[in-house]
Symmetry: C2
Subunit: 235 residues, 2 copies
C-alpha cells in the first residue's frame, strides 16, 4: 500500500480533466489515382499548447450528455455529418501526454459517408487529410490515429462495418473497393462477391447502376443488424 499522497506537490494538483476526441474516417477518391482512400478531418489548434498544430477534433464533456453523445456532437460540429458508425476507441490518460494540466481523453472513432459532399466544410481551421499522411500532430494524436487505423482494419476482417461507408444501395464492386482501400491490398473479385453473398447481410434489388462504361452492375441493399446502433459494443 502506497500512502495517499506521495508528496505535497501532488496533493495540490488538480484532478485530471476529461475530454472527448473523435477520429472520423471517410473514404474519398484520391485526386490523383482516382482510387478510394481513407481521409480524416483535423482542426488547427488556436491556443497553447501545440498552437497552430493540427489535432483531432474534440472538446469537454457537457454535464448532461453521455460520452457517446459528446462524440457525436463533436463530429457534427466539425464536419456537419452524422456518423453512420460511432464507437469508443480507447481512453488515453498517461500523466505526461499533455504539458501542464493533466488531461484524460476518451477517444471515439467514426465512419461517415462522404457522398454528401459535406466534405466541403473546410475552412482555415478545419481540413481533411489522407489517413496515411497527416504529418506531425499535437499531443499523442499520431499514435491515436495509428491505433484507430489498426482497429478499423481489424474490424474489417470479420465485420459488416464496410457498409457504414456506403449509401443505401451499392454494387458489390463498391463494397470491394471499400475493403481494398481500408486493407490496402487487392482482393479477388470473384471470391469476394461469393463471400459477401454467403453472409445474410445483403439483399439484391432489381435496380442496376447505370452510366458506367460497361455492363451495369446490380445494386444491393444492406439488411444485416443495425450498424453501430448505439451506446454499447457487443458488435
Amino acid at each position: 500500500m502506497t500512502p495517499k499522497y506521495a508528496n505535497v506537490s501532488e496533493r495540490e494538483q488538480e484532478p485530471p480533466s476529461l475530454a472527448i476526441s473523435t477520429v472520423i474516417f471517410a473514404l474519398r477518391p484520391d485526386p490523383e489515382t482516382g482510387r478510394l482512400s481513407l481521409w480524416l478531418p483535423l482542426v488547427r489548434r488556436i491556443r497553447q499548447p501545440y498552437r497552430e498544430l493540427w489535432a483531432l477534433p474534440g472538446g469537454p464533456l457537457r454535464p448532461s450528455e453521455s460520452l457517446q453523445d459528446a462524440a457525436a456532437r463533436n463530429l457534427q460540429d466539425t464536419t456537419g455529418l452524422s456518423p453512420r458508425y460511432l464507437e469508443q476507441l480507447y481512453a488515453f490518460g498517461g500523466p505526461d501526454r499533455s504539458p501542464t494540466p493533466r488531461v484524460v481523453s476518451i477517444v471515439y472513432w467514426a465512419l461517415v459517408q462522404p457522398d454528401e459532399a459535406a466534405l466541403a466544410r473546410q475552412d482555415e481551421n478545419v481540413d481533411w487529410f489522407r489517413a496515411d499522411a497527416v504529418g506531425t500532430l499535437a499531443f499523442d494524436h499520431n499514435r491515436i490515429i495509428d491505433y484507430a487505423l489498426w482497429r478499423l482494419r481489424n474490424k474489417m476482417e470479420y465485420g459488416s462495418i464496410a457498409y457504414a461507408f456506403l449509401g443505401a444501395t451499392f454494387t458489390l464492386a463498391q463494397v470491394r473497393e471499400v475493403y481494398e482501400a481500408v486493407l490496402g491490398r487487392e482482393l479477388d473479385p470473384a471470391n469476394f462477391r461469393r463471400q459477401l453473398q454467403a453472409t445474410q447481410d445483403i439483399e439484391r434489388t432489381d435496380s442496376f447502376l447505370q452510366g458506367g462504361r460497361h455492363r451495369p452492375p446490380r445494386l444491393y441493399r444492406y439488411t444485416g443488424p443495425e450498424l453501430q446502433s448505439d451506446a454499447f459494443p457487443p458488435a
Copy 2:
C-alpha cells in the same frame, strides 16, 4: 446545436470525476464439481450510495500514475496478486450511472494465476464469486462484468491469453481446461492439441507432470509474444 448549458442547475454542476475500476478474472476449481470455472473478487461498499452492496474494486486516479498503473495497483490492493494480463476494457460515463455526482469510470480487466493461493485474501469486505453468479451489484457493475466476459470469450477465440491463466509450464490438457471453462463448452482433445501445436506459441519441455492417476502428460512452455506486455493494445 444545443445551448452551452440547458439550465442553471447544470451550469452549477461540478465536472464529472474520474475513477478506475478493474474486473479481475481467475480460474479455480469449482468446490463441487471440481471442474475449472471463472471467479472474480468483489468488494463490499462501506459508504453510500449502494452501501453494503458488492462492487468492482476501484478507486480514484492518482496524479502521477498512468491509467494502467492505477488499475494494477487496484488489483494488488484487493487481491495481493500481480496481473499476468491487464488491458483496458471500456470507459463508462453515462450521466445517470451514479446517483448525484457524476462519475466516469475507466474499467480494466485482468487475468491472474490462482495457484498462488492468494485467493485466500478474503475478509469481511472482499470475497470471490463465480463470474456467472455474482448477484446484484452496485452501479452498472453487472453490465460491466457481462461485457468483460464477452470480451474475454472473444479474445479466447483467436488468442493466446489462455496462457495468462497458467503457470510457467503446463500440460496441453490444462490449456484445454482453460478454454473449456471460459467458453463454457467441451472441446475435442485430439483436435485441440493439434491446433495448439500448430501455432508457434508453445514449446515442449522434457518434463512430465507426475502424480496424476494415469499416464503422466508432457509439460509445455509458452514462448509466443509477451502476454499483455504493457500500456497498449495492438495485441
